[in-house]
C-alpha cells in the first residue's frame, strides 16, 4: 500500500475484542508493550498499577480509591506476564511469567512488575531477529533488566546498560543504524517515591549486539542541559534517530542524529515544548507518516504532573519535517520561534478535550495514521470535585456527569489519511468506560491491534444511593482489540 493511496479506513464496527478483563485477571492492567514476532502478537503486561499508585507520593486525591486493594501491595500477585496471540486460531497463551526473587530485605518479590517495551531486532551475534523486552524491576531488587527470546517462548536475561541501580525501568528499544538504543524511563531508591516517568539518567545507551551487551553512551548526558530530565521516546525518521525529552522547566526538547560511531553528533530540532513551555513537558508518541514525523506532546502523569505542579492541560500533536520546520496539527494556537502556529486540523489540544492528557501511541496502518489517547475523564467520580472552580461545576452540570462519562469517559482513537483531516473511531474507549488509554498499536497483515490500559479491575468502587462499595468489574483489566474491515472478518 503506498502512501498516496490509503486503504479502507477502519471505523469502530471494524474492531473486535480478542482479549478482555486483563486476560481473565483484572490485575493485568496495562497492555504495556506489544510486538509482532514470528507471525504472532506478543503482549507484555503491567500488574496492579492502580494499587501501587496508592502507596506512591504524592498520593492522588481519589475518594474512595477506585479499586479495591489489599492493605499490603505484596498481597497482589504482581508477576508480570507475556501473552502470545495466534490469529489463525484466535487463541491466547501465557508464554512467560516473571519469577519470584529474593529481595535485598530477604522477602520475595516478582523479578518484573511490567514489560514496558518490546522490539524485534537482530544483533550481531543473533542468528535471526529476536524479541527483546525491556522490564520494570521492583525497588527491592537490582535495576531493570533486558530480556531476549529467539522463539517467543523462552526468555533469557542479557546484559543491560551499565546504568545506576536506581533505574527501575526502561521502555524504548529503538533500532537504528544496525544498533539498538534505549534509555532509563523511571527511577527511585526510596519506597513510595518512584517516578514512573522520570529516569535518573538522561542518557541513551546503544549496542550492536544486545546478546553480548557491549553498551556505550550515545549522547552527552541530558544533551548538555541539566533540565532535560529523561529521554522519553525515540524514533527513526529521514535517516536520523530522533530523541524526545522531558523538561519540566522550559518544555520538551527534540534532538536528532545521523548516527555513526557513538557517541553521536546530535542536532537540536525543537525546544521549549514547541513554544508551549512546560505544558508540553514531554515528547511522547512519535511516528513517521507521509514524509513527516508526528510527535505527541503532553504533561507527565496523564496531563497533570502534581509533583512539579504542571497542568492540568491536554496533549498536543506536532509534525516535524526533515528540514526541522514544524506544524501544529492539534493544539493551542500561539506565536513561536518559527512564527504563528495554529492547529491545521482545526482541533484544539486534546482533540478539543481537556481529558486527553496524552497522545499515547501512534501507528501507520494501510496508509492511515492512527492516534490513541490517554483520557482521565473516568476518574471524575473519584475526584474531590468540591474543590474545583464554580465554572467547571457549571460546565459539568450542563453536560450531566453520567452523559459526559458515557460519551467521552474513556480513551479516544483517531485516524487521518492526510495528517490534517482527523476523524474519531471511538471517543469512548470502544464503549468500555474503564479503558483508560491506548497503550499500544501494532499494524500487521491480520489487522491493527490495539492494546489498552484499564486499571479498573478486578473490583471497582461503585456508588449506590450515596454509598460506596466495591464490586466485581467484568470489564476491568487491559484489553486487546483487532481492527480489520468487517468484510475481511466475515471471509
Amino acid at each position: 500500500m503506498n502512501a498516496t493511496a490509503p486503504g479502507r479506513p477502519l471505523t469502530q464496527v471494524d474492531f473486535e475484542l480478542t482479549s478482555q478483563s486483563g486476560f481473565g485477571d483484572g490485575w493485568n492492567q496495562y497492555a504495556h508493550s506489544m510486538a509482532w514476532f514470528r507471525g504472532r502478537l506478543y503482549v507484555g503486561t503491567a500488574r496492579g498499577n492502580l494499587a501501587a499508585l496508592r502507596i506512591n507520593k504524592p498520593v492522588p486525591d481519589l475518594r474512595p480509591w477506585p479499586i479495591e486493594c489489599p492493605d499490603k501491595l505484596d498481597d497482589i500477585d504482581r508477576r508480570a506476564q507475556i501473552w502470545e496471540y495466534t490469529p489463525e486460531t484466535d487463541s491466547w497463551v501465557c508464554v512467560y511469567r516473571a519469577p519470584m526473587m529474593q529481595a535485598r530485605d530477604g522477602g520475595r518479590v516478582p523479578h518484573f512488575l511490567s514489560y514496558r517495551g518490546m522490539s524485534v531486532f537482530r544483533g550481531e551475534s543473533d542468528a535471526a531477529p529476536c524479541l527483546y523486552v525491556s522490564t520494570w524491576s521492583p525497588l527491592r531488587l537490582g535495576p531493570a533488566e533486558l530480556l531476549r527470546s529467539e522463539d517467543g517462548r523462552n526468555f533469557e536475561i542479557v546484559p543491560r546498560p551499565g546504568w545506576s541501580p536506581a533505574v527501575r525501568s526502561f521502555r524504548s528499544l529503538c533500532a537504528f543504524g544496525g544498533r539498538v538504543h534505549t534509555s532509563p524511563i523511571s527511577s527511585g531508591v526510596v519506597a513510595g517515591q518512584i517516578s514512573d516517568s522520570l529516569g535518573s539518567d538522561p542518557t541513551i545507551y546503544t549496542t550492536a549486539d544486545p546478546r553480548t551487551g557491549h553498551w556505550v553512551k550515545a549522547n552527552e548526558t541530558g544533551f548538555g542541559n541539566a533540565e532535560n530530565l529523561t529521554v522519553f521516546e525515540m524514533e527513526t525518521f529521514a535517516g536520523h534517530l530522533y530523541a524526545g525529552l522531558v523538561n519540566a522547566r522550559s518544555g520538551s526538547e527534540i534532538w536528532k542524529t545521523r548516527g555513526g560511531e557513538p557517541p553521536y553528533a546530535w542536532t537540536k530540532v525543537l525546544a521549549d515544548g514547541a513554544g508551549r513551555g512546560p505544558l508540553n513537558e514531554a515528547a511522547g508518541a512519535m511516528c513517521e507518516f507521509r514524509g513527516a514525523l508526528y510527535v505527541g506532546f503532553g504533561i507527565l502523569n496523564g496531563g497533570y504532573h502534581r509533583a512539579m505542579r504542571i497542568g492540568p492541560a491536554a496533549a498536543e500533536l506536532v509534525r516535524i519535517w526533515p528540514d526541522d520546520s514544524w506544524d501544529l496539527i492539534m493544539g493551542d494556537a500561539r506565536m513561536t520561534g518559527q512564527g504563528l502556529k495554529y492547529p491545521l486540523s482545526g482541533y484544539g489540544s486534546g482533540f478539543d478535550s481537556l481529558f486527553n492528557g496524552y497522545v499515547w501511541r501512534m501507528c501507520v496502518h494501510e496508509g492511515h495514521l492512527y492516534a490513541g489517547t490517554f483520557n482521565w475523564a473516568n476518574l471524575i467520580p473519584y475526584l474531590p470535585m468540591h474543590t474545583w472552580p464554580d465554572d467547571v461545576h457549571a460546565l459539568l452540570r450542563r453536560w450531566g456527569r453520567e452523559e459526559l462519562l458515557r460519551r467521552y469517559g474513556a480513551f479516544e482513537l483517531w485516524r487521518t489519511a492526510d495528517g490534517v483531516h482527523w476523524d474519531p473511531i471511538t471517543r469512548s474507549g470502544f464503549d468500555n468506560p474503564y479503558n483508560w488509554g491506548v497503550r499500544n498499536l501494532v499494524s500487521t497483515a491480520h489487522g491493527l491491534f490495539v492494546g489498552t490500559v484499564n486499571p479498573f479491575g478486578p473490583r471497582i468502587a461503585v456508588e449506590r444511593s450515596g454509598d460506596w462499595h466495591y464490586a466485581d468489574n467484568p470489564r476491568g483489566g487491559c484489553e486487546v482489540w483487532l481492527g480489520r474491515p468487517q468484510t475481511e472478518r466475515a471471509a
Binding site: 493551542d332 494556537a333 506565536m335 513561536t336 504563528l340 482545526g346 484544539g348 482527523w422 476523524d423
Partner: protein, 302 residues
C-alpha cells in the same frame, strides 16, 4: 432540482452576513442567517452542540426554519423548528439544507458562513455534501477584522480558545490567528482547484466603497438578472433576518448585524488599516505575523 446554494465564506468578524443581506435584495436570491450546518455530520449532533454550547450556536438555523417552514420568526415557530430537527436527528445535515432550498425555491439560497472555514473537517463536509456549491471568498483587511473582533470580544468573559495566542499567560486575544486560519483553510481545503464559475473572491472594502457596482458584478457572475441598483438604496433593513430573533433563538448573526459598532471603533478599523503598525489589541507591541502580512498582500492589501 434545486439551484446550487451560494456560500459567502469568510473569517469571523469579516461581514459575511452583511454581504448575504445585501445579496438578498435580488428577487432571485434568498439570504439566510448563519446556519453552522457543517459542524456535524448529523442533525442530532448539531442539536447536541446547541444544547452544550454557548451563545445559541444554531439560532440562525432555527430562525431560518421558523421563517421558511413555519411562516414566522416567533417563539412558537422556533419551538416547532426545533422539534422538526429533533425528528430528523439521525439524518445528515445536508437534508436540512435541501429542505430550506425547496422552501426558498425558486429563489436560490445565500448562506453566510464564518464558522466552517475554521475547521478542515467542516469544509470537507461542505465540499462533499454540497458538491455544486458556489462560493464567494470574502476577505477583509486583517487590521479591520482585528479591531472589530477585539471591540466585540475584548471585554467578554467567554472568548473562544481559537481566538487566543496561547504563548501568553494568560492566553491573549489576537484575532489575526483566526484570520489566517480561516483564509488558509479556505484556500487549501475548499477553493483550490475550483473553476472561476464556482468561486470568486470579494474584498469587503470594494463592497463598502461601491456597493451597487460590486453587487452588480456579483449578480452577473452568478448569472442572475440585472437589477437597477443605487448605492443609496442598498442596505439590510429589508432583510427579514436583520436584527435579533425571538427569545427562543435570538442570535444567528454576527454582532455587526445586531448592535451598533461605536463610531470610534469603525474609524480605528477602516480609516487607515495597516499591515506594519503594532497591533492595537496586543500590549506587547507585536505586529502582524509574517504569514498574515503575506496573505493579506496576496489579497491586495497594503
Amino acid at each position: 432540482m434545486r439551484a446550487a446554494p451560494l456560500f459567502v465564506l469568510s473569517a469571523p468578524y469579516s461581514g459575511a452576513e452583511r454581504v448575504a443581506a445585501l445579496l438578498d435584495v435580488h428577487p432571485q436570491l434568498c439570504a439566510l442567517p448563519s446556519l453552522k450546518l457543517f459542524m456535524a455530520d448529523r442533525v442530532g449532533e448539531l442539536l447536541d452542540i446547541q444544547q452544550l454550547g454557548q451563545g445559541g450556536v444554531i439560532d440562525g438555523l432555527l430562525r431560518a426554519l421558523a421563517q421558511l417552514k413555519f411562516g414566522a420568526q416567533s417563539d412558537g415557530a422556533v419551538i416547532a423548528a426545533r422539534e422538526w430537527l429533533q425528528q430528523r436527528a439521525a439524518e445528515p445535515v445536508v437534508t436540512v439544507l435541501d429542505t430550506l432550498a425547496e422552501l426558498a425555491a425558486p429563489r436560490r439560497l445565500v448562506i453566510p458562513d464564518a464558522e466552517s472555514p475554521l475547521r478542515p473537517n467542516d469544509l470537507r463536509r461542505l465540499r462533499e455534501q454540497v458538491p455544486d456549491a458556489q462560493c464567494i471568498h470574502l476577505v477583509r483587511h486583517p487590521w479591520s477584522q482585528g479591531v472589530i473582533a477585539a471591540d466585540r470580544l475584548g471585554d467578554r468573559l467567554f472568548v473562544p480558545a481559537d481566538f487566543k495566542d496561547h504563548a501568553m499567560r494568560p492566553p491573549l486575544l489576537d484575532p489575526q490567528i483566526v484570520w489566517l486560519r480561516a483564509h488558509r483553510n479556505l484556500l487549501d481545503h475548499l477553493l483550490a482547484g475550483l473553476p472561476a464559475a464556482r468561486a470568486r473572491q470579494l474584498r469587503w472594502e470594494e463592497l463598502a466603497v461601491e456597493p451597487a457596482a460590486t453587487l452588480a458584478a456579483i449578480f452577473e457572475w452568478l448569472g442572475e438578472d440585472r437589477l437597477p441598483l443605487s448605492d443609496a438604496a442598498l442596505g439590510d433593513a429589508g432583510w427579514c433576518f436583520a436584527g435579533y430573533g425571538p427569545a427562543e433563538a435570538p442570535y444567528g448573526l454576527d454582532h455587526e448585524m445586531l448592535e451598533e459598532i461605536p463610531e470610534r471603533t469603525l474609524d480605528d478599523a477602516f480609516a487607515a488599516p495597516s499591515l506594519d503598525r503594532p497591533l492595537p489589541w496586543r500590549p506587547d507591541g507585536l505586529k502582524f505575523a509574517a504569514p498574515v502580512r503575506a496573505l493579506a498582500g496576496q489579497f491586495g492589501y497594503g
